[in-house]
């Protein structure tokens, strides 16, 4: 269970996130949407410990975790992908995904041949196969096209066997076809017990994946609920389509 209580974060004079209250029960899937600059990535940065909050608190399974060093967040079971892709370009796909396992229990810093290490590497190969990356396993990750690179990011996050998975624009830069494929992969590969938060621009991906959605605007949460309801909310329409948009007709939006 993840809980954010009146979380606030400022950059210079601007409040990137303002008094955010959010509760995500275990195994839940929450979509985080909003226009550019609404603070979505900052929220992920706060939840993954990359950035410290200025006010408020973050609780994970009852314990307060804000203020801990970043690597402790990861060890508590938080894994994430990055909007701008953080892959090590000259390393192969496999090597990039192996990075995720460095701090998992049983990881051996010095020996490759232990049972745990062999099992871990097999698990990575399984993941890569599920993600359709088998042929690229030993290719330098810089050689892959963007959609495949995003899958590597996803593989790396999944390889951490997280309890809380944060995806930052997992379909960024993809065509509708690629987005659909990504959505299917996420739905299939994220185990049900894992709590999932997805930040996305693409309303269709979020709406299909997440039974609940929260909308941010200038750092504040302005709506939360089922995608259909939220997307027909007046305030939400205003921020996405502008004030002059007429009253919503049932046009199959969402």
């Amino acid at each position: 269970m993840l809980r954010l209580e009146r979380v606030t974060r400022r950059f210079g004079g601007i409040e990137a996130v303002k008094e955010l209250d959010v509760e995500v029960p275990p195994g839940a899937r929450l979509g985080l949407i909003g226009p550019n600059g609404s603070g979505k990535t900052t929220v992920l940065n706060l939840i993954s410990g990359v950035v410290a909050l200025d006010e408020g608190a973050i609780f994970w399974n009852g314990a307060r975790i804000d203020g801990l060093p970043t690597h402790r967040f990861a060890r508590l079971g938080v894994a994430r992908t990055f909007q701008n892709l953080r892959l090590v370009p000259h390393m192969t796909v496999r090597e990039n995904v192996w990075l995720a396992q460095h701090s998992l229990p049983g990881a051996n810093a010095l020996r490759r041949g232990t049972e745990a290490e062999i099992a871990r590497r097999a698990r990575v190969d399984e993941l890569l196969a599920e993600l359709g990356l088998e042929a690229w396993r030993d290719a330098p990750v810089a050689a892959l096209p963007l959609p495949q690179q995003r899958r590597v990011e996803l593989a790396r996050a999944l390889a951490r066997e997280p309890a809380l998975l944060l995806l930052d624009e997992p379909a960024g830069g993809m065509t509708p076809g690629e987005t659909h494929a990504m959505r299917t992969l996420i739905a299939r590969l994220v185990p049900p017990a894992v709590t999932l938060i997805v930040v996305e621009h693409k309303l269709d991906l979020v709406a299909e994946l997440c039974p609940r959605v929260a909308v941010l605007d200038f750092g504040r949460k302005i709506a939360e609920g089922a995608p259909d309801d939220v997307l027909r909310d007046r305030k939400v329409m205003e921020i996405y389509f502008g004030r002059s948009f007429p009253s919503p007709a049932k046009s199959g939006g969402g």
Binding site: A74, V88, S103, R160
Partner: protein, 304 residues
């Protein structure tokens, strides 16, 4: 083996230690101009151990390495918040402070009627362990080689396992490393301590082979050279810095033709090299390419 060759090989061996030391720090993303400080600490500590306290050489090596490692760990802790260029300068400042300190420090005792020990600016005379124990230079060379092989083996084990890629990740993308659960600060301090110990080992050998060391031996030039070795030889493997030392000490010492123009030629070559290979000869990319070629080669033979 002729004496000159032995001495050249010995120098290659000893400077490899400090080159490896700078390389280890470079892997974790830190530029250090100051590894000569730990080389010096190792030299003086081990010299005191054998010449003033009469301890056996093996113990002196341990003491020297430990002294270097602890000092380096402390500096690493102090400079945790200091990054990039600032870190480089902090290491330089520390190294100069050590050198200046050694210029002032006097710890001399009469051993068998002779004054022995660090004597400020005049240096540390009388590290006569090799003479007193009849160790010929060629034999000492074996000791140097043995220790170097040991250190290289340690690097090799680290590179094969997760430790190598963990270190390199910390250097390449510390934020990513943190988000994978790696305690970047702890890794950096540990790497700093290990690097200090390795440099100190080199210093121990240096002091005992030369029987005399002075603060002047451990100046900024030594520090910048050690950094350069890794850059020239390549940062993809621990053999890179060794290659760098080989090229500088080995090749140029022997090529007498360039007497007097040595630095002009060498400097020019290094500058040109770095234009085309900014991460050195044996850098990560080239090594991968080599590894891929080698993996494919047996198949070629099978098909032919």
């Amino acid at each position: 083996m002729d004496d000159y060759l032995v001495s050249v090989l010995a120098n290659i061996g000893m400077f490899s230690f400090i080159a490896l030391s700078a390389y280890l720090l470079l892997l974790t993303g830190e530029i250090s101009f100051g590894q000569q400080a730990f080389f010096a600490i190792g030299a003086y500590a081990s010299g005191i151990a054998t010449a003033l306290w009469g301890l056996p050489f093996a113990l002196a090596l341990l003491i020297g390495a430990a002294a270097g490692g602890i000092a380096a760990g402390l500096v690493g802790l102090l400079t945790l918040r200091t990054r990039g260029l600032y870190f480089a300068m902090a290491t330089l400042a520390f190294a100069e402070l050590v050198r200046l300190g050694l210029q002032q420090w006097v710890y001399v005792r009469k051993i068998e009627g002779e004054p022995v020990g660090p004597n400020g600016v005049d240096g540390f005379r009388g590290i006569r362990y090799v003479f007193e124990n009849n160790i010929a230079p060629a034999e000492f060379l074996l000791i140097i080689a043995g220790l170097l092989v040991f250190v290289l083996a340690a690097f090799a084990v680290a590179e094969r396992g997760r430790l190598g890629s963990m270190l390199r990740l910390v250097g390449a993308d510390p934020l990513l490393a943190e988000s994978q659960g790696i305690d970047v600060k702890a890794v950096k301090v540990a790497a700093a301590a290990a690097a200090g110990a390795v440099a100190a080992l080199g210093g121990c050998l240096f002091a005992h082979l030369n029987t005399f060391v002075e603060p002047r031996n451990f100046d900024i030039m030594l520090g910048v050279h050690s950094l350069a070795y890794g850059l020239i030889g390549g940062l993809g493997t621990a053999f890179g810095p060794i290659l760098g030392v080989l090229i500088d000490v080995g090749l140029l010492e022997s090529v007498r033709v360039f007497q007097g123009y040595r630095m002009i030629v060498f400097g020019g070559l290094v500058a040109l090299l770095l234009v085309f290979m900014p991460r050195g000869i044996l850098d990560e990319t080239r090594l991968r390419w080599l590894a891929a070629r080698l993996r494919r080669a047996p198949q070629h033979h099978a098909q032919a």
